[in-house]
């Protein structure tokens, strides 16, 4: 039965009620509804969504419920193993490790989301403009991206974070500067293919401004790809932030981040392995979930690109 076009076969309506909601089909499912249906069938992606929902509650609501502050030291209770008072034990300054893992997650997830948003904004606007304007401007803009791509970014990021006053704003700038490049390339490719389609020609012949065409007609049509790539950027950003915090170059103490917590654990594996295992577990679980969700979203939004 041709589900996409039930009107073509009148007999379809007389069949026993199918499992699919016919009203929804008649009104025409949008790209997003379609994608949602496909995503719901992907158990790994749905599981990841639940894990991420739990993680968000854990990190953003958890610290409010905790009786301890993440910065409150207690030098008589340093390096305790997990107990009923301190579920995850305490760190080298006697701070409650559960509270620190929750707050650290808040920092890591927060940085991940905000820096991704920043890099998305730059990447989408830059890529869309380059592709839409085309010609020499496009060539120059993309050459700039190529040169930046060739730079060893890890090295510059470390350099920036050591040399200048470390602040969370600099962290955002640095991460955003790294992550927008790929986004710009992807968006440019998409826009180039959309640009040739009739509805854009129609908008041009109606005399709309370039700005309006880019913002209202082209960007909404690349949102699917952007959404997929954004979900995959969040873990990359979290990774970069934790990498910097691990080296002592990211978020500054007493503020914890999963990277700095893992560093503390790595320094104490001989005697206090739980200081490593617990933050590493939460960190890895979040990264897995984000990656699985990203893969699931890609399959859902663009079934053709599915890997095999």
């Amino acid at each position: 039965m041709d589900l996409k076009n039930p009107r073509l076969s009148p007999s379809a309506q007389r069949l026993p009620a199918p499992a699919v909601d016919l009203d929804a089909i008649e009104s025409g499912a949008s790209l997003w509804q379609d994608a949602w249906h496909r995503l719901r069938k992907n158990h790994l992606a749905v599981g990841s969504l639940w894990v991420l929902a739990f993680m968000a509650l854990f990190c953003f609501v958890g610290p409010l419920l905790s009786p301890y502050d993440y910065f409150a030291t207690d030098l008589e209770k340093t390096l305790l193993t997990p107990s009923r008072q301190h579920w995850f034990g305490t760190d080298d300054l006697g701070r409650d490790q559960l509270t620190r893992v929750m707050t650290g997650g808040r920092v890591s997830l927060g940085v991940g989301l905000i820096a991704t948003a920043v890099s998305l904004l730059i990447g989408v606007v830059y890529g869309a403009t380059a592709a839409y304007v085309g010609g020499k401007a496009d060539a120059v803009m993309m050459r700039v991206v190529d040169v930046l791509y060739a730079l060893p970014f890890t090295i510059f990021v470390i350099l920036l974070m050591t040399l200048f006053e470390r602040s969370i704003v600099l962290l955002f700038v640095v991460i955003g500067a790294v992550e927008w490049l790929t986004m710009a390339r992807i968006v440019r490719g998409q826009v180039l293919s959309i640009k040739k389609q009739e509805f854009v020609e129609a908008a041009v012949s109606l005399g709309y401004t370039t700005r309006r065409i880019i913002l209202r007609h082209i960007i909404p049509n690349v949102l699917g790809v952007v959404a997929v790539y954004a979900t995959l950027t969040v873990p990359a950003v979290i990774l970069l932030e934790s990498f910097l915090s691990f080296l002592g170059l990211g978020v500054q103490p007493p503020m914890p981040s999963w990277g700095s917590l893992i560093k503390l654990g790595a320094d104490n594996i001989q005697l206090y392995p739980h200081l490593l295992i617990i933050p590493a577990f939460f960190f890895s679980l979040t990264l897995f979930s984000l990656n699985f969700l990203g893969d699931g979203l890609r399959d859902a939004l663009d079934p053709k690109s599915s890997k095999d």
């Binding site: 890890t154 350099l159 040399l163 080296l247």
Partner: protein
């Protein structure tokens, strides 16, 4: 072909030049100087030190002089300690190179066979199990994998030292840490590349002619199927080189990564520049090499961007 190589070499030189210039001025415009780190020294001593190293000259003069010395292969004196930058890097570089070499060997040694087997036995357990493990490997960053390997094999099982770089066995954990992550990526890329080739017509023709299956894989599929791996080697080399920062910190290895981070903390201008230039040269050379090899293996690329 020679035109292509010439153009890519020119491009690499430009990139290197940009990197050197950006780093030079970034280091100089950052607050602080090499002599402000520890206790305060009398102003006149600081003045004469600055004059001794030529730091009192106008910035552009310093820049010109640095480039001149660089062309002669002289990276200048280090501001901390008595050794020159050339000496420090000559001591640290072989360590990082050895670490990177082992890591690459592990990455290819595990990644390629796993990817090939997964593609050949597609959609069986020999495909699913290694590929889900590869997914896990891709998500795990080195700074999580490293401490966990050290915990399991160093502390709990006691097979290796937790840190240090003295005995041959000390190479195992750091190299595995870097290698495993890339093995996972290489396995996935290999599988994808092999499947792509296996689905093409000439493979079916070969099967129809009755060519034995192992021969199809070895003779007809491998060359094309491994192309994507070759193009991944450029980024992989760059990643392995810069991934060594974390691993050298975790396992206390006296390599370039540690020198780089320390020199940046100390505002040791010349050492910072020296390490960045060496890193950048390595990465650029790796990318260049990979591009050329790719064109040699895949003649279609030659006509693409003219």
């Amino acid at each position: 072909m020679f035109k292509f190589i010439g153009r890519r070499v020119a491009q690499s030189v430009i990139v290197l030049f940009v990197i050197i210039t950006v780093t030079f001025f970034m280091v100089r415009f950052a607050p602080g100087d090499p002599f402000s780190a520890e206790r305060k020294m009398p102003e006149h001593i600081k003045q004469s030190l600055m004059a001794h190293y030529g730091l009192d000259q106008p910035l552009l003069v310093q820049y010109g002089r640095y480039l001149g010395n660089l062309l002669k292969g002289d990276l200048g004196p280090s501001f901390t300690g008595t050794r020159s930058v050339n000496q420090i890097l000559a001591a640290a570089f072989p360590v990082s190179l050895e670490l990177g070499g082992w890591a690459l060997l592990i990455a290819l040694g595990i990644g390629l066979p796993v990817g090939i087997v997964a593609a050949v036995f597609r959609n069986t357990l020999a495909d699913y199990i290694p590929m889900s493990m590869a997914m896990v490997g891709i998500c795990l960053p080195t700074f999580v994998l490293g401490p966990i390997l050290a915990l399991v094999f160093g502390v709990w099982l006691g097979w290796f030292n937790v840190s240090g770089w003295f005995m041959p066995l000390d190479r195992v954990l750091p190299a595995t840490t870097i290698g495993l992550v890339y093995a996972a990526v290489i396995a996935r890329i290999t599988r994808g590349g092999m499947l792509e080739v296996l689905s093409q017509d000439f493979i079916r023709t070969a099967q129809a002619k009755g060519v034995p299956f192992p021969r199809i894989i070895v003779v007809h599929t491998l060359k094309g199927g491994l192309l994507p791996v070759v193009s991944f080697l450029g980024p992989a080399l760059a990643g392995i080189i810069s991934g060594s920062f974390v691993v050298e910190t975790i396992f206390q290895i006296p390599g370039m990564g540690r020198e780089f981070v320390n020199s940046a903390f100390n505002r040791d201008y010349t050492l910072v520049l020296g390490t960045v230039i060496l890193y950048a040269a390595l990465i650029t050379a790796a990318n260049l090499l990979v591009d050329v090899v790719q064109v040699v293996l895949n003649p279609r690329l030659r006509f693409e961007d003219s």
